[in-house]
């Protein structure tokens, strides 16, 4: 069941909320949480009921191992159980997500044929596996308390974050589930929740799904060997850049909004990443909970920055490479992770160089911030080409076109005005055969949309900033609001905002009815 589907919005959600608050009011807290767990499992089973055994087994296995780690103090047994738990989780993920990739590459390299059954990746497996590894590690470190099975199951299966995150930390969630006032309806929570959910729904259904055709036509053409023109390639890459942004940010808003309706706050997962002025900053804003996981449970255990510069950079690179592989079993994801690893290394080297020289880069020249943001954005767009493309060859085709391999073709009508001013060497790169020769993009409208979206992602406040007065997410620092001093732009529960939100929600609901509902991109990871 998708968040952006009628069955979810008009059937599942009202029934779940009504049941939760009703049980919370008439029976007791635990019963209400049990209802929430039941609803979450139903939500998960909607895709494929057979997957229930998978998540059920995973929860039971991890709960038993975690309890052992919490209650026993014999070090070698604890080591053994931690290894067992982590290996068990990784083996499950490895089988479903990476077995085919490994076998295919083995076959390509050695010619050895290994027959695998047809493996279908169960939805959400990457998310609930990581979440449980965190709990095991924390239990091993002696930081996790002994929570009961109901709370633990709900931590893992809670429907707002189950499918595509945020990857919540047990501390953030379990303390909220065990609060005495949980399961009590709060109209303020509901108002904030429905607002965040509506914004997310609009981002996903109107903006992200609206960008999808532009991106798909270019990437699909590249897959079949068609070489897009310079403009087609850039439009395709930028369209995907915005599609992914609004898809994921929309999903995160919807997840945060849903949890908030229930009275639960999620950690922030997305904080205007395209406003980042360097790659380090980008990773503090994009999929924040995954970055946190990779930092705390991979980069730091690898040694982090404690073992010298070379080890630090190699740790960074390995972390990003594995982060790439987490997104999907394919070489394009490895390249994407490798690229970001390289960006981060270059970024750190540059920062240390600038620190030695005196001023930071963004303060060294006029418009330094804007230039830094632009450079970061272009690097991110280049990496997204690998993330989206169906294979390295398709990505190379698009990147070649983006970087003038096929030259630039402008509309016919420019020819008379430009030819006399052009230096002779430019004629090698410049033609006048039309901007969209392959017909992959059908109108100039796309350029207007992309430009408008660029302004939105660079200069508009994000959802959390709009709702900063009402603590929309855990750990969100309201000081960031100071950038938007004009208070009228910040959300408050008044007439104006109810009209705006009603209109955004209505537009999304109508678009869903007309155009069907597309899955969130992050569901595939």
């Amino acid at each position: 069941m998708l968040f952006n589907s009628y069955e979810f919005i008009f059937v599942f959600l009202p029934i779940t909320l009504a049941g939760y608050f009703l049980i919370g009011r008439t029976a007791n807290r635990r019963m209400a949480l049990a209802w929430l767990l039941l609803a979450s499992l139903f939500f998960y089973a909607w895709w494929n009921p057979l997957n229930l055994w998978l998540i059920g087994t995973s929860i039971c296995f991890n709960y038993v191992v975690a309890r052992y780690l919490i209650h026993r103090s014999w070090p070698s047994a604890r080591n053994f159980f931690l290894a067992l738990g982590v290996t068990g989780n990784l083996a499950l993920l490895g089988y479903f997500k990476y077995a085919k990739f490994v076998v295919d590459n083995l076959r390509a390299m050695t010619g050895v044929e290994v027959h695998l059954p047809n493996i279908v990746l169960p939805i959400a497996i990457s998310f609930f596996t990581f979440q449980q590894i965190v709990f095991l590690v924390e239990a091993y470190r002696g930081r996790a308390e002994d929570y009961d099975f109901l709370h633990y199951s709900l931590l893992v299966a809670f429907f707002p974050h189950l499918i595509a995150g945020p990857i919540v930390h047990y501390r953030e969630m379990l303390t909220q589930f065990t609060r005495p006032r949980v399961a009590r309806p709060w109209v303020s929570h509901f108002a904030v929740g429905i607002t965040i959910f509506s914004i997310g729904l609009f981002k996903k259904v109107i903006v992200a799904d609206g960008m999808a055709p532009y991106a798909n036509s270019v990437f699909d053409a590249a897959k079949t060997g068609i070489s897009p023109t310079f403009f087609e390639a850039w439009i395709g890459a930028l369209a995907y850049t915005f599609q992914l942004y609004f898809d994921f940010s929309g999903y995160s808003d919807m997840a945060i909004g849903l949890a908030r309706m229930i009275g639960i706050r999620f950690p922030l997962n997305f904080d205007s990443p395209y406003k980042a002025t360097n790659i380090v900053d980008f990773w503090r804003r994009w999929h924040i909970t995954l970055s946190r996981f990779l930092r705390d449970y991979l980069y730091i255990p690898l040694g982090g920055n404690r073992k010298g510069t070379v080890r630090r950079y190699s740790n960074l690179f390995i972390t990003m490479l594995l982060g790439g592989l987490w997104h999907g079993a394919g070489w394009t994801f490895v390249v994407w992770g490798g690229l970001h690893g390289s960006y981060l290394i270059v970024n750190h080297l540059w920062q240390s160089l600038r620190t030695r020289m005196g001023k930071p880069f963004d303060q060294a020249m006029p418009f330094g911030q804007d230039l830094a943001r632009l450079v970061t954005f272009v690097c991110v767009v280049i990496a997204w080409v690998f993330f989206r493309a169906d294979g390295i060859a398709a990505a190379s085709t698009i990147l070649a076109s983006m970087f003038l391999h096929n030259g630039i073709s402008l509309p016919h009508r420019f020819e008379p005005h430009m030819t006399e001013f052009l230096p002779s060497f430019a004629s090698e790169y410049l033609r006048f055969d039309g901007m969209f020769q392959n017909g992959l993009i059908d109108s100039y409208q796309s350029i207007t949309w992309l430009f408008a979206l660029l302004l939105v992602v660079w200069y508009m406040p994000n959802t959390q900033q709009l709702l900063a007065r009402y603590r929309p997410a855990l750990g969100y620092r309201p000081r960031k609001v100071t950038a938007y001093r004009r208070s009228w732009i910040l959300w408050r529960p008044n007439y104006v905002w109810s009209v705006i939100l009603a209109a955004l929600g209505a537009m999304a609901l109508v678009k869903m009815w007309i155009g069907g509902n597309a899955e969130f991109l992050y569901f595939q990871f």
């Binding site: 109209v187 509901f190 108002a191 529960p493 009603a502 609901l509 109508v510 009815w513 007309i514």
Partner: protein
């Protein structure tokens, strides 16, 4: 006292939900009105649907655009089909039209391009699967996907007078106004070649499920007592020149011939009937007859199909 900008969570939630519900109701009612009053009366698909539902003639011709552009319909002999329809679509239309009436003379299209990949991959049109559907079912199954386009058109043109029938249709016949002969000869060659490439039938079409569908359609008509005529429609000189070179086209024609024979139907091959440059004036494009060619062809076809040999 609460003013326009005062915060109130409960009031906010109620207002948001009420305004949203009101917006949806307004949008739904205006959309329904737009479809019933403006779109449907000008929709070629719907007019063909009405003809299929309400037609009383026992004699009819069935097929895709080749048939509906090429055979002149009349009250006694209507033309039923639509652009882009497939063999599966044709079966649905035939069965629906003759579900409550005994067929008389029936012309069935037997064109090689019915087995081209783009036709074989195309899904059946939603409204053909449910031709007896009420307006509401049609609204959801057919108009729903185009609602955004309808509204965009209305908004872009700032008025409701922007919907016109795409073509003039008489008893199912689409009156083609253009002249293929007026197109530049070089362009004609290229366009025809490109169309032939798109419309080349697959090899071994006899094994495709559409072959079975076709056999089933003719068998149904035979059982119902129809006098069947399978026709391969004429194409222009340039189209024919490229198409006749392909082996699968010949194989497709043989298939239609065989199926017609198995069902005691007459088979008429008019594929090359107008494959001379002087007949380009009969066509609206490379493979569709126009208002000049269609009447002449219809006369010839009816005679070839249903006149008793002396």
């Amino acid at each position: 006292m609460q003013n326009f900008y005062t915060s109130n969570f409960r009031g906010y939630v109620y207002r948001l939900l009420w305004i949203q519900a009101a917006l949806l109701v307004v949008l739904a009612s205006t959309s329904i009105s737009l479809v019933t009053d403006v779109v449907e009366p000008n929709d070629d698909f719907i007019s063909r649907l009405h003809l299929t539902r309400n037609g009383t003639a026992k004699n009819a011709a069935f097929g895709d655009s080749h048939i509906v552009w090429g055979i002149v319909g009349s009250p006694d002999f209507i033309t039923l089909g639509a652009d882009g329809e497939t063999i599966a679509d044709m079966e649905l239309r035939v069965r629906y039209y003759f579900q409550n009436k005994r067929p008389g003379k029936v012309i069935i299209q037997g064109d090689p391009h019915s087995f081209s990949p783009y036709k074989l991959e195309r899904g059946t049109h939603a409204y053909l699967q449910d031709m007896g559907a009420s307006f509401w079912r049609r609204f959801i199954a057919h108009h729903r996907q185009y609602l955004g386009q309808y509204w965009r058109k209305v908004i872009a043109n700032r008025g409701l007078h922007v919907f016109h029938p795409k073509h003039e249709i008489k008893w199912g016949w689409v009156v083609g106004k253009d002249r293929w002969s007026s197109v530049d000869p070089v362009v004609r060659v290229h366009q025809a070649l490109s169309r032939v490439q798109r419309q080349t039938p697959i090899e071994e079409l006899q094994r495709h499920e559409f072959a079975e569908t076709y056999r089933r359609t003719l068998s149904f008509l035979k059982r119902s007592g129809a006098e069947i005529c399978v026709v391969t429609m004429p194409v222009s000189y340039d189209y024919h020149m490229h198409a006749e070179r392909t082996r699968s086209t010949a194989s497709a024609i043989r298939f239609f011939q065989d199926v017609a024979k198995q069902n005691d139907a007459r088979y008429v091959n008019f594929f090359g009937l107008y494959a001379q440059p002087q007949f380009d004036d009969y066509f609206t494009d490379e493979d569709h007859l126009n208002e000049v060619g269609a009447p002449r062809f219809t006369k010839k076809l009816l005679s070839a199909c249903f006149d008793r040999p002396d």
